[in-house]
């Protein structure tokens, strides 16, 4: 069977590619739909040839029982954050925490595993006295800013949790983060994005020079950069693991490198990029059909923060983008029926194969899900459960009503009642357009 037929068959039998195909069927033109199979096949063949040419595909070994028997002495730490999605009109309650699951399999019961709640914030982002963000009169779209604040808090908390482990001089053999090791900071460069409070920064990064905690130093971009620089200096390997990749950073960088070397022409490079964009082809989709179960592709060094995007362009943070460390991105295909997982690190791996085999083994413990089980464990631990969200909603509702009643103003009270009776800001509250029937 030729490579082309082989890849075509894989695409046809592959569920996640089928999902992409369906997405295209909804959004793309009939012509694009018709071409999807052919185009995907062509791109996959091109990428496969380049990967093989560059010797980037590697086979990993997994011997379940023997592997764990040999590696039970290793200490691993898994980190993840959880955010409460509570929403109440007129207030922005935020419950966020990061958890760590630290495990050394061969240790005695008491010291075998630890669940730590590393960072916690409970507060209202609309409260001027909240301890996380400085209060700013937002002229930016309220909801969008709020979501960015929540995302920013989660990203910082996760990074800072790893920093804390480093500062505490923890002796880990591995540390894994659920998600990218370096998030794209572009959304936080927008005008009006608030700075963290002094209190928050002092708690998050105790080594930060307290005398230099001006507004600029407390901005997300600088605090996050500081945290990443600390992570980069870690003595133990730290990997961010991404479940499904919605973009194609690996393929794009691979093509760019080959264009730079002159192996492919500028025209072919541009055409392929355009095709990838047009057909919404991602690293996961392509690698899923290229890689076999237990295969990995060696990492490429990728710049995640890129100058010149419309949002950052002209922003005060434009020049800062180059200061962010580049990320080493690789992929491992855990099993036949799930997309490859993305492995990110800030430093090149000293023992790449061993590290990847360790990740493969932790993911093989979930044979269907195909994701490191330690991250699945810490995900459940850090997740803010419904009962906690309910409790915080009740707390804020009571607080609001109490304040209204204390004012003894009937209008304020009825306003508070109205606010509480509207559960969420939703499309139902929007004014109707067109003819009212």
């Amino acid at each position: 069977m030729s490579n082309e037929t082989d890849i075509k068959n894989k695409i046809k039998s592959n569920s996640s590619l089928f999902t992409n195909f369906v997405k295209n069927a909804v959004s793309a033109s009939p012509k694009v739909q018709n071409n999807f199979l052919d185009v995907s096949t062509q791109v996959a063949l091109t990428v496969q040839r380049i990967l093989e040419d560059a010797n980037l595909i590697t086979n990993l070994e997994y011997k379940g029982k023997d592997f764990w028997s040999e590696n039970k002495c290793k200490t691993s730490c898994f980190v993840d954050g959880g955010v409460d999605k509570t929403s109440i009109i007129s207030s922005a309650p935020l419950s966020i925490r990061t958890g760590s699951y630290i495990v050394k399999p061969d240790a005695a019961d008491k010291n075998r595993e630890f669940f730590e709640e590393s960072m916690v914030f409970l507060g209202d982002l609309y409260d001027p006295k909240n301890e996380l963000y400085d209060f700013a009169e937002d002229d930016f779209d309220e909801d969008q800013m709020l979501n960015k604040k929540k995302d920013g808090a989660r990203i910082i908390f996760e990074a800072v949790t790893i920093v804390k482990h480093i500062l505490l001089n923890r002796k880990f053999d591995y540390c894994f983060l659920h998600g990218p090791i370096e998030a794209t900071v572009m959304p936080f460069t927008v005008m009006g994005f608030p700075t963290f409070t002094k209190f928050a920064v002092e708690n998050m990064l105790p080594f930060y020079n307290k005398n230099k905690l001006n507004a600029e130093a407390r901005h997300f971009i600088n605090v996050y950069l500081e945290a990443l620089n600390s992570i980069k200096k870690s003595k133990f390997p730290i990997y961010g693991i991404v479940e499904t990749s919605n973009s194609a950073p690996y393929i794009k960088n691979l093509l760019f490198n080959y264009k730079s070397k002159g192996t492919i022409s500028e025209k072919d490079f541009k055409n392929t990029l355009a095709t990838i964009k047009k057909y919404k082809i991602t690293d996961s989709h392509l690698l899923e059909i290229i890689l076999q179960s237990g295969q990995a592709i060696k990492p490429l060094e990728v710049k995640k923060q890129i100058k010149g995007f419309s949002v950052t362009s002209g922003s005060a943070w434009e020049d800062k983008m180059d200061s962010f460390p580049s990320v080493h991105i690789g992929y491992i295909k855990i099993n036949d029926h799930s997309a490859p997982i993305r492995i990110e690190s800030l430093n090149p791996s000293k023992n790449l194969i061993k590290d990847y085999e360790y990740i493969l083994a932790t993911a093989r413990l979930l044979p269907n899900y195909g994701f490191p089980v330690g991250l699945n464990v810490v995900d459940k631990f850090a997740k803010i459960p419904n009962w906690m969200s309910k409790a915080s909603r009740k707390y804020y509702a009571t607080h609001l009503l109490k304040q209204a009643i204390r004012s003894k103003d009937q209008n304020t009270i009825s306003l508070a009642v109205k606010i509480l009776s509207k559960k969420v800001r939703s499309w139902r509250n929007r004014p109707l357009g067109g003819l009212v029937r």
Binding site: F115, L366, P367, N368, K380
Partner: protein, 472 residues
């Protein structure tokens, strides 16, 4: 009671009520059946808020590890991997206990009262000391003759005692499915009563209590343990028993045949003694009357008389068979000394005496004769207590497999002669010191009047008490 010394073992969860609650248990700090406490507050009738200690029993424990994914188990099994070698969490078991509330106590007063206000969610759950649990369970035991009946299942140090006088004089019933521990419980009570020299009579249809004879010298050297086999002795007055035996064991009779039997019983005088001999005498006499061309019974045809002869003959044959079966069983246990049951009417003291355990071995006897034996025996013993109390001391009758002697209507065994006798003994017995202990699989198998007279009930595991309702 120093509650501060009690160890904290968990926290009350979510919703609570006045009959049960759930709590999260620390690993290995308690087990099913344990008595636990939680501090709570209840409103008093004066409107005050009173701090109380709520007592409960752990009725079930569930364990789960939310961090352990099911599919990981598949991989461990398929690859033969030891979970302890992997990074999978092994120590995050969540233990949820269900507690049945026993009641509450006030400070410095260990009388258990029914709870009328729910326990506080999020309250601490404690593990009380064994001394305090024992004090709680037997705090109202003001007994001259306490009986040790066992230790708490979950805590060996807590000894449970009950009042022997109350137990014996006010009757006790023990229920539980087969193998649930009824007989073991009875033996425990008997052991204690024997040590207190309390006279007992056991109606043993399976030979469950023969161990007392074997262990008598070793365990009960100061007690007399006697093993009897039945001897059906009757007098001419026991006509009802003959009627019943013929009705149940012989052919059913027509009215003229019944008339003949009635007249026969009137005419044939018997001084008293073996039932079998009495029936054999009746057979002989009836045959004589039948062959005598009915000089004495002008209105009754000889054919009807022969029917009665055959019926009595059948009864005699069956009784003889049962006696022989019982004899064969006894022969198998040649090491045990069996004695013929003395006549309870004339020699009751040989059956009931201070410190004596009398076991009546009924194996081999069908329900009806066994019932007749028990009826006559108890009737006579009761009469002695009723009329001349000094002749025999107060005693306890233990009726094993009681549904054979006092069945409910649903058992389809009505008209057993023992039902009326035991009903009389149990309803009037308290006054005359004749206690009864009935043992059966479930209350519904027993005569309702008798079962309702038992002031103490010991209930073991029972299932299928009532048939589940069908949903059509």
């Amino acid at each position: 009671m120093n509650t501060k010394k009690w160890k904290s073992i968990g926290t009350v969860l979510g919703e609570t009520n006045i009959s049960e609650f759930y709590f999260s248990l620390k690993n290995y700090k308690a087990k099913k059946g344990d008595i636990i406490t939680t501090e709570s507050k209840i409103p008093s009738s004066e409107g005050n808020i009173v701090p109380v200690t709520v007592w409960g029993k752990i009725s079930s424990i569930e364990s789960s590890n939310v961090f352990f994914p099911t599919e990981a188990a598949q991989e461990l099994t398929n690859e033969n991997i030891d979970i302890r070698d992997t990074i999978l969490p092994t120590t995050r078991d969540e233990l949820i206990c269900k507690v049945i509330i026993l009641g509450f106590t006030l400070k410095d007063n260990l009388k258990l009262m029914p709870l009328n206000y729910p326990v506080r969610p999020a309250a601490t759950v404690s593990y009380p000391s064994s001394e305090d649990v024992e004090a709680l369970l037997i705090s109202d035991l003001d007994s001259e003759h306490p009986l040790f009946i066992g230790s708490l299942l979950a805590r060996d140090a807590v000894k449970i005692k009950i009042d022997a006088d109350n137990l014996v004089s006010r009757h006790v019933s023990i229920f539980g499915m087969s193998g649930s521990g009824k007989t073991v419980m009875v033996r425990r009570i008997m052991d204690e009563l024997l040590k207190k020299k309390y006279p007992m009579l056991v109606l043993d249809i399976h030979g469950d209590y023969l161990g007392f004879i074997q262990k008598q010298k070793k365990l009960y050297p100061k007690n007399e343990v006697k093993l009897f086999y039945p001897n059906l002795s009757v007098s001419s007055d026991d006509k009802e028993i003959i009627y019943t035996l013929i009705d149940k064991l012989g052919n059913s009779l027509t009215d003229p045949q019944k008339d003949f039997l009635s007249s026969l019983l009137e005419k044939v005088k018997y001084e008293g003694g073996s039932l079998l001999k009495y029936i054999e005498l009746l057979v002989r006499k009836a045959r004589e009357y039948a062959s005598d061309s009915s000089k004495s019974f002008k209105n009754i045809r000889p054919a009807s008389m022969y029917v009665v002869v055959r019926s009595l003959g059948q009864v005699a044959k069956k009784l003889k068979n049962m006696e022989q079966t019982n004899f064969r069983h006894r022969q198998k246990m040649s090491k045990l000394k069996f004695e013929e049951l003395p006549d309870a009417a004339t020699e009751p003291e040989k059956i009931i005496n201070k410190g004596q355990l009398s076991i009546l071995y009924l194996k081999g006897y069908e329900n009806l004769p066994a019932s007749a034996i028990v009826s006559i025996l108890l009737e006579n013993l009761f009469k002695h207590r009723q009329e001349v109390e000094e002749e025999i001391p107060p005693f306890l009758t233990i009726i094993e497999e009681a549904h054979n002697f006092i069945p409910s209507r649903s058992e389809d065994k009505d008209n057993l002669p023992s039902v009326d006798t035991i009903r009389k003994v149990i309803t009037e017995g308290r006054k005359f010191g004749t206690g009864v202990m009935i043992i059966s699989q479930r209350p519904s198998r027993l005569d309702e009047t008798i079962a309702s007279q038992c002031n103490s009930q010991i209930v073991f595991r029972m299932v299928n008490q009532k048939r589940p309702k069908s949903n059509y």
